[in-house]
């Protein structure tokens, strides 16, 4: 618990979004998932984005992860305007700047841990020797040095999520974007994974957690609450009194 209170000095701004909106057309209806969200995230932050379902949390995550572009507003990632990038430019940003960790791990089922972790390096055009070296190193860092040739179905849930985290880290991204990373794990394994995130934060990574679980969000140093497509609260630290009934 000691480490949890240590806050690392903040770096330059990585993510700068101002007044972004996102509208979907679903059938006849226009759904306004985001109604003007502004947010700044600096390097070395550990931030949790919380909100009930329908709050626009997932949509915001897709924006932050450059999987989608906003309908209006400004989004700068490391000073580059993301809102106007085309598909391939977005793919390049995702490849080099963002490490995704999914709730369902999303590993390639027929590939070994090593091959799974190598995938972003292949898309980055790294040569095979350096690929293997780097992937092996990162797998060792997350505590799977002895599991590099195992396939996902030979690994436990916690180990699979570690492979996924190694995959997220392998290209040295600016941010790690984790969407309910413990959602498919039991609470003990979930705690272990959260410790790993804490570690990564301490080692200088920027971590963004998207979750509706207060226990998980409590690990972060800053919490952003979304409701109805707007930022309801954005505060440093986790204030239990303020964070009471978030989700059912």
């Amino acid at each position: 618990m000691e480490t949890r209170n240590s806050i690392r000095p903040l770096g330059p701004v990585v993510i700068d979004i101002e007044n972004i909106t996102k509208e979907y057309v679903m059938g006849e209806e226009v759904v306004r998932a985001l109604r003007g969200v502004s947010l700044q995230i600096r390097r070395n932050e550990y931030i949790a984005i919380m909100g009930p379902s329908g709050s626009g949390k997932s949509t915001l995550m897709n924006m932050l992860g450059c999987l989608d572009t906003p309908s209006s507003g400004r989004y700068e990632f490391n000073g580059k305007n993301v809102a106007e990038m085309d598909d391939d430019e977005l793919a390049a940003v995702r490849n080099r700047e963002i490490g995704f960790v999914f709730q369902t791990f999303n590993l390639l089922p027929r590939s070994t841990s090593l091959r799974n972790v190598e995938l972003p390096l292949i898309y980055a055009g790294i040569d095979p020797e350096r690929r293997e070296e780097r992937a092996t190193q990162v797998l060792a860092d997350v505590g799977l040095g002895d599991r590099i040739n195992h396939k996902p179905n030979e690994l436990s849930g916690g180990q699979r999520q570690r492979v996924a985290i190694a995959r997220a880290l392998v290209n040295g991204p600016s941010i790690i974007l984790a969407d309910e990373p413990t959602g498919n794990l039991d609470s003990k394994t979930g705690e272990e994974i959260m410790e790993l995130f804490e570690n990564l934060y301490q080692r200088g990574n920027t971590v963004i957690l998207v979750t509706h679980e207060r226990d998980i969000a409590a690990h972060a140093r800053r919490t952003v609450h979304l409701r109805d497509g707007l930022v309801e609260m954005d505060h440093v630290g986790f204030i239990p009194e303020l964070d009471l009934p978030v989700a059912t």
Binding site: L67, R94, N106, L108, Y123, I126, R167
Partner: protein, 416 residues
């Protein structure tokens, strides 16, 4: 560029893994392509075989020989203009030869008359019907590719004297003399005895219609003595330089007009033909057989391609989430497109290889069982069928791969 190569090798690995893990499905799908490639390849070998047989038949005509005939070797619309032409007489050959000898630097070498008739040939208890009996001179061999396996062709002396000697075709010799040498035996043609002095080497059939091996050649003098009535005659003329065939043709036309005594205003009342004319008449026929055959067998390959397309669509659908993940990790549209194109191409290529192997075995079997069947397997055919396989893969994989590459990563990731 390097990145592209890595993506390429990655795609091949995925394709191989995908085929291994869906073995039954891949095999069944590839079966369509296998059958398609077998059909197309076998048709290709047949077309090839026909073409080669055709060229062989043409070679028998000789590419340096002009044929003076009443009818041209091509279809004519105004047949009535040709019907009343005077027949070609064997005597023209002598006249032509005298003219050729008198022309300095003539493009022509020698004129050879031929007359023919269908007759039965008998020896002892054996008989061959419908033998092509040819009366000609000893110069015939210079206009022909025919060779003797045993004995010899008749010489100038026998030719002038009209001796009762014959040179018989391979099949005739085979049928009449199954167990003995035909040389110096006497065969019976039209009630006359002829001494066999030579046997021709095997020539094969002409366009599969007419066999040079069931032919009998004798001196023209003897022929005229016994078969003069109503036999068809023409004159063939050997050309000195086949690269100057057109000049030779012009010269021969001039000589024939003199032979026929035609005044300048009259049109030619004879035709001068060469192998090329025959070819240009028959080539379109050969080509349309090839096109029709390949089109019909191509349809079966098309059906195979649709199978591949279908399975690739299924594969894209099944792996929507994987596509989403790959996009999230930085795969570009091109990467995804390439991955599925390579998957379908690998499947087609595998099918192509297997199909080709089967086709080769079948060709081999057919060749052994029916030696006369025109079939010819070649390296060119192997290359072409591999290229066709790859094109089929690209064609059938493109629509599904395109769909996959355009998937929205958010939607794809949410897909269950």
């Amino acid at each position: 560029m390097k990145r592209f190569l890595y993506e390429l090798s990655e795609s091949w690995k995925i394709a191989a893994a995908q085929m291994r893990s869906n073995l039954t499905r891949s095999t069944l799908t590839a079966l369509g392509v296998i059958i398609g490639i077998i059909a197309v390849t076998l048709m290709g070998t047949a077309v090839n075989g026909i073409s080669i047989g055709f060229d062989k038949s043409m070679a028998v005509l000789g590419d340096d020989v002009l044929y003076v005939t009443q009818w041209p070797w091509k279809p004519v619309d105004d047949w009535w203009n040709y019907r009343d032409r005077k027949k070609i007489k064997t005597e023209y050959a002598d006249t032509l030869n005298r003219m050729i000898a008198a022309t300095p630097n003539s493009n022509l070498v020698v004129a050879v008359p031929t007359s023919n008739f269908m007759r039965s040939v008998k020896y002892g208890g054996n008989q061959v019907d419908n033998v092509f009996v040819l009366g000609t001179t000893s110069d015939f061999i210079v206009t022909s590719t025919i060779d003797c396996t045993a004995g010899r062709f008749f010489n100038e002396l026998e030719s002038r004297g009209g001796a009762n000697v014959v040179v018989i075709g391979y099949d005739v010799a085979d049928a009449l003399f199954p167990s003995e040498s035909p040389i110096d035996k006497s065969v019976l043609i039209n009630g006359q005895l002829f001494k066999v002095i030579g046997v021709n080497t095997r020539q094969g059939t002409f366009l599969g219609l007419f066999s040079w091996d069931s032919m009998v050649a004798m001196p023209l003098g003897a022929f005229k003595k016994y078969f003069s009535a109503k036999s068809e005659s023409d004159v063939r003329v050997k050309v000195k330089d086949k690269t100057r065939l057109a000049d030779a043709k012009d010269e021969l036309t001039g000589l024939m007009r003199r032979v026929r005594g035609l005044p300048p205003e009259k049109r030619d009342d004879f035709s001068i033909n060469e192998q090329q004319a025959f070819k240009s008449t028959l080539d379109p026929v050969k080509n349309s057989i090839a096109i029709a055959g390949l089109f019909i067998t191509g349809l079966s390959l098309f059906v195979g391609a649709i199978g591949i397309m279908n399975i690739t669509f299924v594969s894209v659908k099944e792996r929507t989430k994987e596509i989403g993940t790959r996009k999230a990790l930085g795969a570009r549209r091109r990467t995804i497109l390439l991955q599925f194109l390579i998957e379908s191409t690998a499947l087609c290529l595998l099918g192509g290889f297997i199909g080709l192997a089967f086709a080769y075995l079948m060709c081999f079997g057919i060749g052994k069982a029916f030696p006369s069947f025109p079939i010819h397997f070649s390296i060119g055919l192997v290359l072409i069928s591999m290229i066709v396989s790859i094109l089929t893969g690209l064609f059938s994989g493109f629509a599904p791969a395109w769909t996959a590459s355009r998937l929205d990563p958010v939607t794809a990731l949410r897909y269950e």
